[in-house]
Every structure is written in structure tokens, then in C-alpha cells.
């Protein structure tokens, strides 16, 4: 055993802006061992959830992750509705799947951008994040928020998507599809990306089974698990789509799976819109008076894989126990297999390839007044700015019609 050098990534990730610490033990440029530390931002959400009512828990679990903020309420709603034995209306199902798939598109675009940034291919980074903006604007038009949409509740959804918005949504989606073509071409046909990602950070099928990895991480290694197909919920059994898989298990395969999944998401959204046109406006809720004693396991396919919520109810108005397992919990653990034996430069992209869950809800830097007379932004200014933008978007929406 020779001497090993410790290369830390963290405690604040320089690129993904999230507190975590990877310790890479290197011999020269080769990573020989790896350890990670976490818990810097542990918020004890499982325990907090026991002190909230079922309605409040939706807002709490939505804040677990800023990127896939709908997947947690989705799984929680599935769990609670299983306990209560509720079947929601078709229109609510379509709206739920619509939001879930739109979120998948913006999350995958975000990952592709970050992956490009990791590889030093900043054009991809700029493009992906630029083309992600119309998706976020669409969210803002429909829900009032770019992230944390507050759309879900037990028995349905909080807001309807009015049928007169559908033509505009279709127009924006067609544009997103064109931009996705552009981006897919830029990634899939680029020799530099091939050189940097093919054969890098390989996870074999056996590794995936051993670590119980989920989502694109598993599907890129030939394990075709997708909760939307295996344990169908919301509108997924009502629409046609296919599970995307690849066999290689390297970083390129993971990128490929995510890019091709965006096309499936666009197709699902289009079918959901047709479904909305067939159902009655406003029919989005079933009244659920109380949650009986019992337990429910709710699953949802987040952009990163299966989200699992296990709720135990004692018949009161808050959960007696609420266990949450985000997909990154099992996916990040695979780094032992994907990174050891690689160079440091390849290890960073291998670590990022599972799309560890990071929060990206910041949308403004605060300007301070330091003798220059520049305006200070206070809370009211920020709220005005935010609502101002939302109403402007809504105005544009009317003009687009």
C-alpha cells in the first residue's frame, strides 16, 4: 500500500451547491477509495411530519427537494389515499401526471446542463438551462410557482387547468420538443462527450441489484424498473408510453436514458391534455373526511427514480409514523462501484451521473445599499417582483391566444 492523497469534494459542493463531503483517497490520479459524509442539512422531516396535519404535510414534503418537488407530495398522496381507500377523479389523475411529467422534463434538462458543465462543455450547460426556462414559465402559468407547486391534496388537486389554456400549453410544448431535438443532437453526436462519458463510471446489472438502485441509474444498466409501469398510479395506465432502457451502465447511457425519457414525457403530457379536454372542468376533488387507522405504502417515479412514502395512521389527523425514502438515498450509495479505479476527473462526473438531488429554487440575488444609493430589496419588494412576473406571464398568455 503506497501513500494516499485525500482530495475532498465539499463540504460544500463547488458545482452542485449542496452541502455534502466526498473524500476521495487517491494514489496519483487514480481514486482508490471513497467515503462520504452527509447530514449537514438534516431537517428531521419524518419527525416533523408527525406534528402536522395531513393537509400540512403536503407543504412539508414538497420542500424536501426543490427540483423534484412534486414527486414527494405525489407519493404521499398515493400512500394516504391507499389508507383511506379513495379513488380520485380522472381529471385529477390527468393533472397529477401532467405536473409529474413536466417536472421530469425540467429536472432532466437541469441534469443535462450540469453534466455538460462538469465535462467543461458549457454550451450544453447554457442551452439546457435556457430551454428549461419556458418549462418553468409554463409551471408558473399553471400553478403560480416555478418550483414547489402546491398542487396536490388528499383526494385530488388544488387547482384546475382550465381547458382554454390547453392550446397555449400545446404551443409551448411543441417548442420545448424542438429544443430537445437540438440538445439531444448536441449530446448524442458529440465526439468529445463520447470520449468523456463512454465506458466511464460503469454500474453493472449486479451492482444495481445489490444496491437496489432505481430510476434512470437502474434503467441505464438494463434493469427495466419504472414505478409508472410496475405499480401504475394517477393517469399512467390511461396513456401510452414506453420505458427507456440502455445496457451499458456508463455515464453516456444514463444521459441517453434521460434525454429519450423527455420525449416520452412530452408524449404523456400531450395525451394528458387530450384527456383533460374529455373530462369536465372543475371535477378535480373527492371529499375525504377522515383518515382511518392503518398503513399505506405510496410510490411515485420521480425524475431520479422511485420515491417511497410509508405512512402509518392511528386514526388521528396527523401521521403516527411517516417514513420517506428519496431515490438518491439508494442511488448515491453506488459510488463505491462507479468511482473506484477511475481518475479524479472521471470520478466527479460519475458521482454526478446518478443526478443527486439538489435544490435550485433561488431566483434572485439581493442587492445591498452601500453608500451608492442602490435600492435594497426587502421582503415586500421581492413578493411584488414575484407576483408582478406571474401576472405578466398571465397577460402574455392572453395575448398568445
Amino acid at each position: 500500500m503506497g501513500k494516499k492523497t485525500l482530495i475532498p469534494i465539499g463540504p460544500y459542493h463547488p458545482l452542485q451547491e449542496e452541502p455534502e463531503l466526498f473524500k476521495l483517497f487517491c494514489d496519483g490520479e487514480i481514486v482508490k477509495d471513497i467515503k462520504w459524509e452527509t447530514g449537514y442539512n438534516h431537517r428531521s422531516i419524518e419527525k416533523l411530519s408527525e406534528s402536522k396535519t395531513y393537509d400540512q404535510v403536503f407543504f412539508l414534503v414538497e420542500r424536501i427537494c426543490g427540483i423534484c418537488s412534486t414527486s414527494h407530495p405525489f407519493a404521499f398522496a398515493n400512500a394516504v389515499e391507499e389508507i383511506a381507500g379513495v379513488e380520485i377523479t380522472d381529471r385529477a389523475k390527468y393533472i397529477r401526471s401532467f405536473i409529474g411529467e413536466l417536472e421530469r422534463i425540467h429536472s432532466h434538462l437541469l441534469w443535462v446542463g450540469l453534466a455538460g458543465h462538469f465535462l467543461g462543455y458549457n454550451t450544453v450547460f447554457m442551452w439546457a438551462w435556457k430551454y428549461r426556462e419556458p418549462v418553468l414559465d409554463l409551471f408558473e402559468m399553471i400553478t403560480g410557482n416555478r418550483n414547489s407547486y402546491a398542487m396536490f391534496r388528499v383526494g385530488g388537486v388544488r387547482r384546475d387547468i382550465e381547458n382554454n389554456k390547453i392550446p397555449v400549453i400545446r404551443k409551448i410544448l411543441a417548442d420545448v420538443k424542438k429544443k430537445t431535438d437540438l440538445l439531444t443532437g448536441a449530446v448524442m453526436d458529440d465526439p468529445v462527450i463520447h470520449a468523456r462519458t463512454k465506458g466511464v463510471g460503469i454500474l453493472t446489472k449486479q451492482d444495481v441489484i445489490d444496491y437496489a438502485a432505481v430510476g434512470p441509474t437502474a434503467r441505464a444498466s438494463g434493469v427495466a424498473i419504472d414505478i409508472r409501469k410496475d405499480d401504475p398510479y394517477a393517469a399512467y395506465p390511461l396513456v401510452n408510453w414506453k420505458v427507456i432502457t440502455a445496457e451499458e451502465g456508463d455515464v453516456f447511457a444514463k444521459a441517453q436514458v434521460r434525454l429519450l425519457e423527455m420525449y416520452e414525457s412530452i408524449s404523456i403530457i400531450e395525451q394528458c391534455l387530450s384527456g383533460l379536454e374529455k373530462t369536465k372542468e372543475g371535477d378535480i376533488n373527492v371529499v375525504v373526511k377522515e383518515i382511518p387507522e392503518g398503513s399505506g405504502a405510496g410510490r411515485a417515479e420521480a425524475p431520479r427514480g422511485e420515491v417511497f412514502h410509508y405512512v402509518v395512521s392511528d386514526g388521528s389527523n396527523s401521521p403516527a409514523r411517516h417514513k420517506i425514502r428519496a431515490p438518491s438515498y439508494v442511488n448515491i450509495a453506488t459510488f463505491k462501484k462507479s468511482c473506484i479505479g477511475q481518475t479524479i476527473a472521471d470520478a466527479t462526473i460519475s458521482l454526478a451521473a446518478v443526478d443527486p438531488c439538489y435544490c435550485c429554487t433561488e431566483r434572485l440575488a439581493v442587492a445591498y445599499d452601500q453608500k451608492s444609493g442602490r435600492k435594497i430589496w426587502n421582503a415586500k419588494d421581492l413578493i411584488d417582483l414575484s407576483t408582478g412576473k406571474t401576472s405578466e406571464l398571465k397577460k402574455n398568455l392572453i395575448q398568445l391566444k
Binding site: 447530514g39 444496491y211 410496475d230 405504502a297 417511497f308 439508494v330
Partner: protein, 145 residues
């Protein structure tokens, strides 16, 4: 394979260790087993029946400590919950982490938050509060204020 068959096979193989079975729906079932049998039941589910380990939830209830192991059979969308009830004073159970890596972190987490001891765990260190939390204080227990 369907849910009835999966329950039937478990009963056939581990009849004496199974305390109760409950089929909630085609996609959900609960089986309560004797804690001593967890290793062989998990081995059967993982190696023979093709189940995937999702996660385990620890609970602190009036009965003592419970662990609900959640396994998924993706081919039919079944979530199989294996319940074990552990001792109130000295909760401990065999670790599954020597069989598959998927349970490694969650067992460390349950040890840290609930004080459940996992026998033969390869590395039962703290996962979340590395070095920052008092020994023997378990924040997810009901008595913790």
C-alpha cells in the same frame, strides 16, 4: 407469480416463523414474522423470489420497537411489508447488509435515530450526525423531547 402465490410460498417455506399474514390488496401485503427468522426470510426474498429491498421503517410504538421491511416485486408491482417486533429494552436484530448493500445506510440510520442494534453489521457508524450527537440519545424515540 401473483400476490397469493407469493404469500403461499412464504407460508410453505417459513410456516413456523410466520406470526400473521394480511393481504391488503393485489399490490400490498403485510407479513409479521419472528425477528430471529429475518435473515433467512430476506435471503429467500432477495435470492430466490427476486424481490428488491426498498427500505425499512423503524417505529417506536406501545408494543416496543418495530421494523417494517419493505420489499418490492417489480414484475407484479407488489410491496411486501415484513414486520418484526423487537424487544422494548434491548432492541436488536441481525443485519441484512452482508447480503445486499442496499440496507447498509438505513440500518446505520435506524441505529442512530432509534438505538436499534444491528448484529454483524459491517460498519455500524453514525450516518447523519457524525460525531456531533451525544451517545445513547436517540431523537426519534417517543420519549425524546
Amino acid at each position: 407469480m401473483n400476490t397469493d402465490l407469493a404469500i403461499e410460498k412464504l407460508k410453505e417455506n417459513f410456516g413456523s416463523d410466520i406470526i400473521s399474514t394480511e393481504k391488503k390488496s393485489e399490490k400490498r401485503a403485510i407479513i409479521t414474522i419472528n425477528p430471529d427468522a429475518i435473515l433467512k426470510v430476506a435471503e429467500y426474498l432477495y435470492k430466490t423470489a427476486g424481490f428488491r429491498f426498498i427500505i425499512a421503517s423503524a417505529l417506536h410504538t406501545k408494543k416496543g420497537f418495530e421494523i417494517h421491511y419493505h420489499f418490492s416485486l417489480d414484475a407484479i408491482g407488489l410491496v411486501l411489508n415484513i414486520h418484526v417486533i423487537l424487544d422494548k429494552e434491548n432492541p436488536e436484530i441481525e443485519s441484512l447488509s452482508n447480503m445486499f448493500n442496499a440496507s447498509n445506510w438505513i440500518e446505520r440510520e435506524m441505529h442512530e435515530l432509534f438505538g436499534i442494534n444491528f448484529l454483524n453489521h459491517p460498519n455500524q457508524e453514525k450516518l447523519i450526525s457524525d460525531g456531533n450527537w451525544a451517545e445513547g440519545v436517540y431523537p426519534y424515540r417517543k420519549e425524546f423531547k
